[in-house]
Amino acid sequence: MSQMNLLQAVNMALDTAMQQDERVLCFGEDVGAFGGVFRATSHLQEKYGKDRCFNTPLTEQGILGLANGLAAQGQVPVAEIQFADYIFPAFDQLVNETAKFRYRSGDQFDVGQLTVRAPYGGGIHGGLYHSQSPEAYFTHTPGLKVVVPRNPHQAKGLLLASIREPDPVLFFEPKKLYRASTGEVPEEDYEIPLGQAEVLREGTDITLVAWGAQMQVIEKAAEMAAEEGISCEVIDLRTLLPWDRDTLAASVKKTGRLLINHEAPKTSGFGAELAASLQEVCFLYLEAPIVRVTGWDTPFPLALQNEYLPNEHRTLDAIRASLDY
């Protein structure tokens, strides 16, 4: 065990994966000698050589095209998109190619070994184009898996599991927490299985669910609520596609209330899917409407980013409103 931040945990996971399997390759814009603009790939080129950790030309569609080809050939590509905001030029390669590779070939060819890492989310004065949370787009795409870690320990275990997963995984890293989130991380190789939510705090009055950086918000809100005598169950979804309906449904059936928090805009955010699915299976248990506390339906702003982010105050207000319903 050693104390480290989320970025170091990502770096450690990549290091572990590269050491253990020589087919693992890390690449993307500036990830080579420089170690990436956030330094997630620091020292990997030094350790594993230029042909296993390298810079690509500045083309996201090319990076994903390259990654698809490498994966199909039998390598284990871990491609970095410098900011999740810049994943959109690669949308076609991801949605039409990566996601459908195995299906369309009748399982003759696949790119299941592919992992795409991308720092996402706001709160770092990034404005429209260094703040977006595009996870919901990919949850509408059968064939992909979508994972978001909340802290260093989770990041290492989930990233190792993602790299070894036989399906393509989009791994969104909460860049606001890259340095802000620290914790103990085991030195050894370990995996946290995909597809499983985690109950972080048990409670009886309302279920709060989020992922990534918003976990801190709902945890804080849960604490504030506790001071008012409200007992919140706090769940980290961790994998968004395919998500862990059983754990969530069990919790909602127990508490009778659900609050979903995400940074992305409300309309068609992943909260919509959670709400739609859970009202289906928990209908008779719900004592209030499922509530979504999310980013507004605007581009991500700069001067007013504070006003944009769905923080603990908004969350607590919504918890109270749900209990008062």
Binding site: F34, L70, G106, F109, P242
Partner: protein
Amino acid sequence: MSDLRSFDVELIQHPEFVDPQTSVLPTFALLQQDGNLYPGAKAPDISRELALKIHDTFLFIRALDERLLASQRQGRVSFYMTETGEEAADICSTAALAADDLIMAQYREQGALAFRGFPLEQFMHQIFSNEKDLGKGRQMPIHYGSRDLHYMTISSPLGTQLPQATGYALGYKRSGQKNCVICYFGEGAASEGDFHAALNMAGVFRVPVIFFCRNNGYAISTPVHEQLAGDGVAGRGPGYGLKTLRVDGNDALAVYEATRLARKMAVEEHQPVLIEAMTYRLGAHSSSDDPSGYRSRKEEERWRQKDPVARFRQWLIHQGWWSEEEDETRREEHRQAVITAMKKAEKVPKPPLEELFTDVYKEMPWHLQEQLEEARDLVERHPEAYPATAGRKQA
């Protein structure tokens, strides 16, 4: 890292803008339409056996294309695309490769697959998307793929295979495998952003890939002069650091020789290569298209005079390796074989319901298992609405 740009460059004091009109790459050609070599041309070192195999593939593909297009007209097949007029391009380039080099095709390269030995039955299973189709009946006709024959399953979105080819070739390089990737695409697809990404990365990473452009004059109705303004697609190759050659795409020998040399550079020196084969799509774009809306019979006729299959046959006859009579017999054999195979494949049932849900992921996650159950119930409750799957025993 660090800026390796040279300071020692040629300086000029008059602003001479490079004029794109001035540089036109020549076309490599060996065989004239009458089956004789051009003066000064040297035929590649090609065995009788290989030459006859190429020609037989030509005849097979003509028979396949003719029959399937006719069947589409009769409503027996939902969709089809012929490669008539372009056979030399894909077949002779593939003939110059190792049998385990990877082929990434666009969709008009069934000839390459046939050359590799894809069984006629498999062509038919794919066309009829029945349960024996290697692709499990999921894609439209002509989206073939064969892991065994190193022929990547076709994907409809244009251009996407190009950067994948660069990646696949990089995988070869990394694993030290002495293979290359050949990546086929049309001059239309070359306008996609993926083309740029692919060729640029191939140049930077120096990978064993041959980008093989079939410039057949059209992208559906759009003629090449509305597609690009430079010197074709070949004109772009040097800008990416690729070795580049334009070749007469209707010249079986020139295509073979160009690809043979390209493969050598790709595999031995990791030098990526761009080949532009100048050819013409004699048929419609697809069975949904009618070219009379955008080009003249006269133009088609002019290109029909340059038929690659007839040209190569003349050469074979000059070589004393083949005769008109053998040709007629063999064409008829292929025709009959196709008809027989079609009849059989038509009767093979569609894939079972399960195959709608498998292969989305390696293992079926809970939500798809749930949906499969729902679908099973549905088919059971409404068998009349689901004739393809109702009443079939489950896997």
